[in-house]
Amino acid sequence: MHPVNCDTASRLVGRERDLSGFDLFRFQKPGKKQVLATHLEITESLTVFKDNYNNNLRLKVMNRDWDRVVVIKATDIESLHTLTLWDGEVSLKEGASENPDLTVISDSETLADIFYGDIAPTEPYNNGTLRIMGSEDDIIRLDFISLMIWGE
């Protein structure tokens, strides 16, 4: 069970159906206009994440046996990416992959914020904004990686 900060001040402003038919929730701070990140912004955030990962020798050593395919999907815009971890290195490509190990699904803004390291994944995960499909161990490993790249 891994919990999160549920921001009770935020307001539920919408929901989208994810790949398997589940609802994802979008929350908005009071008084803030709802914005969407673009596909390009998500690509840039993933590139920053990938570069930071690949520049971290320790992470590369730690993950050399953790070969995984991670698909990242935005729910509010057309945006699909695939991060591939192979032999400790991460590569990024646009578009989906068949049979991923993990699928990260959220709204575009949350995805961009997470991969830029402006918010920890735990927060949106526990308030229902972020959904990660895959094994619990892999989900935790992904959070560990984010923690090691961006710190608390």
């Binding site: 549920c6 009770t8 320790r58 992959s97 991923p100 961009a112 830029y116 735990t122 229902g128 490993r141």
Partner: protein, 451 residues
């Protein structure tokens, strides 16, 4: 897109049942038998199992609505508020670790003490905790096929030894439908809930199955199998050994097995108890250490708890802390011999959580009426209301024992104070440390671009 690795229904059932099967379950089963007359323990156990079906139905609806490994932390946060969710989650985790480690280590040390009387019980407790801690730090998890083998072997063993016992004594049920007074039956059912503690901990697997309904189906099947297995085993124990003799022992399953099959039975039961305890310990430590890690990540616990082992990718500070907490709890239990208080404490806490789960279903139906629910409990609010009411009564029945009530109340107040004082302080401290500027470049709007 299809996930590469998906779990089968067989493994979901094994995981749900495996988390529930523990050495201390046999002690609870004897407690159940003591509250009712004659051979009627099976009635209380089957009622307990049937009531857990109600809770399982509510868990299934919540799990379908909010499929997450965060479990009650998210359900209660959405249904009530963050403060309630946090208080209950911390209290639940604390009681689980205290209850499971305390009662389980005590019972297992007694089991092993019967086989190796020269070895002091402290030795077994330290060894068991070290084993579970080592496994956790190395990230070893009893899962998949291994979990299937252990769980189904345990259940088969329970049935087999019971049948051997029935056959040996030419068993016939005496007054099978007269459990005695209502108060005794309620107490028996309330303690009987402990037998099923943890069946719902399978919900974090929601992200690993192809169909969310597999989790609900798995929980229900596990409850069904466990209800029958516990009922048969308890009736067999009380048929072969007098209840007083079983109640006087901290390892009643050993007394029973020895009576049925002599030293071979004892050896068999040691293997059963070891397998049950190791899986329970391992699963309990994994869940609680991950909870501590995630809580530290959301600044609810000190940041030190999200330190991760560079070698094994596990939250080692949380795991080591749990080792020392477990050791302290186990030593206190061994010195005081109050392991039954822990069993009752866990039963009461579990009942409270199930009652809240019923209320959460009702609340979320009001708050999120149009939300897709892959699993919807039929019959309107009847089942959620019944779940809340029944488990509130069962919790009250267990808490009628003053010692249990005092311990739970003290723990609750401690959690409440922590959530209202320490948590805001930790969040404030984190906010002060947070970098002022965002890493994400500011958005260039079309309007700004034109300027």
């Amino acid at each position: 897109m299809q996930l590469k690795r998906v779990l089968t229904l067989r493994t979901v059932v094994a995981t749900s049942a495996g988390l529930t099967l523990a050495s201390s379950s046999f002690v609870a089963a004897v407690q159940v038998a003591n509250y009712v007359l004659g051979d009627t323990a099976w009635i209380a156990i089957l009622i307990g199992g049937a009531l857990c079906f109600l809770a399982a139905a509510c868990f299934s609806e919540l799990n379908g609505l909010l499929p997450t490994a965060a479990g009650i932390r998210l359900y209660f946060s959405r249904a009530f508020n963050d403060q309630v969710s946090l208080t209950v989650s911390i209290l639940y985790m604390a009681i689980v670790i205290v209850g499971v480690v305390g009662a389980e280590s005590y019972v297992l040390s007694r089991v092993l003490g019967e086989v190796f009387p020269a070895v002091p019980p402290y030795f077994w407790i330290v060894l068991l905790l070290l084993l579970a801690t080592g496994m956790n730090i190395r990230g070893m998890k009893i899962a998949g096929v291994f979990q299937d083998i252990i769980t189904y072997s345990l259940i088969a063993s329970m049935f087999l030894i019971s049948l051997i016992a029935f056959n040996k004594i030419g068993f016939q049920l005496n007054t099978p439908f007269s459990p005695g007074g209502a108060s005794g039956l309620i107490q028996a059912v309330a303690v009987g809930v402990f037998l099923f503690v943890g069946f719902e901990w399978v919900t974090p697997l929601a992200e690993e199955v192809t169909q969310i309904r597999q989790i609900s189906r798995g929980m229900m099947i596990a409850l069904g199998i466990l209800s029958v297995a516990y009922a048969v085993f308890t009736v067999a124990m009380t048929a072969v050994v007098p209840k007083e003799a079983l109640a006087a022992s901290a390892a009643p399953q050993m007394v029973f097995a020895r009576q049925v099959l002599g030293s071979a039975g004892a050896a068999w039961m040691v293997a059963v108890s070891l397998a049950a305890s190791v899986t329970t310990f391992n699963a309990g430590l994994i869940s609680v250490s991950r909870f501590m890690y995630a809580s530290a990540r959301e600044h609810v616990l000190p940041a030190v708890f999200c330190r991760v082992s560079v070698r094994f990718f596990t939250p080692w500070v949380s795991i080591v802390t749990l080792f020392f907490v477990g050791l302290a709890v186990a030593c206190v239990t061994l010195l005081t011999h109050r392991y039954l208080v822990l069993v009752k404490l866990a039963a009461a806490m579990e009942s409270i959580v199930y009652a809240l789960v019923g209320l959460a279903v009702i609340s979320l139906r009001r708050k999120m009426p149009g939300q897709a629910r892959p699993y919807l409990v039929k019959g309107g609010d009847v089942i959620p209301v019944s779940t809340a009411a029944v488990f509130a009564v069962l919790a009250a029945a267990v808490l009628a024992e003053l010692r249990v009530l005092m311990v739970l109340l003290t723990a609750f107040l401690a959690c409440l104070v922590y959530v209202n004082t320490a948590v805001p302080y930790l969040k404030k401290k984190y906010d002060a440390r947070k970098p002022a500027a965002r890493r994400r470049p500011p958005r260039v709007t079309e309007e700004a671009g034109r300027k």
